[in-house]
Subunit: 210 residues, 2 copies
Amino acid sequence: MTDAGPDLPGQGAQETLAEPLRTRWSPSVFDDSHVLDRDQVVRLLTAARWAPSCGNAQPAHLVVAERGSPSHEVLVRHLSRGNARWVPRASLVLVVGAQHAPDERGEGGYKPRYADYDTGQAAAHVTLQARAMGLEAHQFAGFDQEAVAAELGVPAYVRLLAGIAVGVRGDPADVPDRDAERDERVRRRVPLSARAHGDRWGTPWQGLEP
Amino acid sequence: MTDAGPDLPGQGAQETLAEPLRTRWSPSVFDDSHVLDRDQVVRLLTAARWAPSCGNAQPAHLVVAERGSPSHEVLVRHLSRGNARWVPRASLVLVVGAQHAPDERGEGGYKPRYADYDTGQAAAHVTLQARAMGLEAHQFAGFDQEAVAAELGVPAYVRLLAGIAVGVRGDPADVPDRDAERDERVRRRVPLSARAHGDRWGTPWQGLEP
């Protein structure tokens, strides 16, 4: 799927969105001296809490891994090589898990088909709330999820999926060039016509016609 | 899991969030005379387009089913009994599918583990963009997904998951009492301490201690 070239107004440009969606992106250069206060973390967790879910099953769990905390230390040891360079600089990582079966007391996990979907919604709410608070958030999947789950004691009814690194932008001069260059990449999306269907699948929605 | 009772500031109240997260909810009474214009629909699709995804795989597909259109007619025939009362009144339904395998040209679908998670993120972005535009959005899963997929020609590499009903709030007096009463229900969430873990799984994050 090739990119459609420059994004024009009316053809899917991010600039046409409302905040905080308009300026959301996933930077890789964080300020490793920045610390979130308790109220900020509570608001990020609250954003996940009020995300919608199928049958209100609320499958999303978050492990709060503040830089320097025991859970952060576990995560950092199991990051992929690429993520090990930038993730540890973020103020906080929220490790995201989806509950796909009931817990020991028979609670939760009763909409397994929607566990990942709704956990993704909760992660998106956290990410957008962060942006609205003047923070940046960058989700990543590259870590040894089985090892982190085992060390943190995550039960079998929860599947770890991602981490959300949260913080403020750092100075690119403070990180190796190849990491600073990540943030200079052109951001690409497939054209709307490849994802938005109309009267039938594969028939682009008529509103997209030029 | 029982509700913690009234939500107090600092304990996960939705009122502490930024817009559009603060006022997002899922109403069931839509104005069945309201129509979205083309630009509004494009902006909803654009919100999905710029959602983040693992490896930029962009798994979320949307079928634009405007009230009265052929794809809307297909969807409406396959709604669950409960959803058949309120969904058809919405201005638009975006039928959401997750691509979990490559298409006929070998494109897309290359992060199947994250297909549902990232499709949920795209749906959340649509829902929040709608709220920011003064619209309401209510996601639902209750429809015969296999039948709708077959009638719309959805390929096997895409799994239909949900619908997003979008529109403006209608007059509760225009719908049967039991439907109007849906929107009066107290909205409940489990306490933050049941979803936010700290140094280990099951140890609530210390910032939640009273």
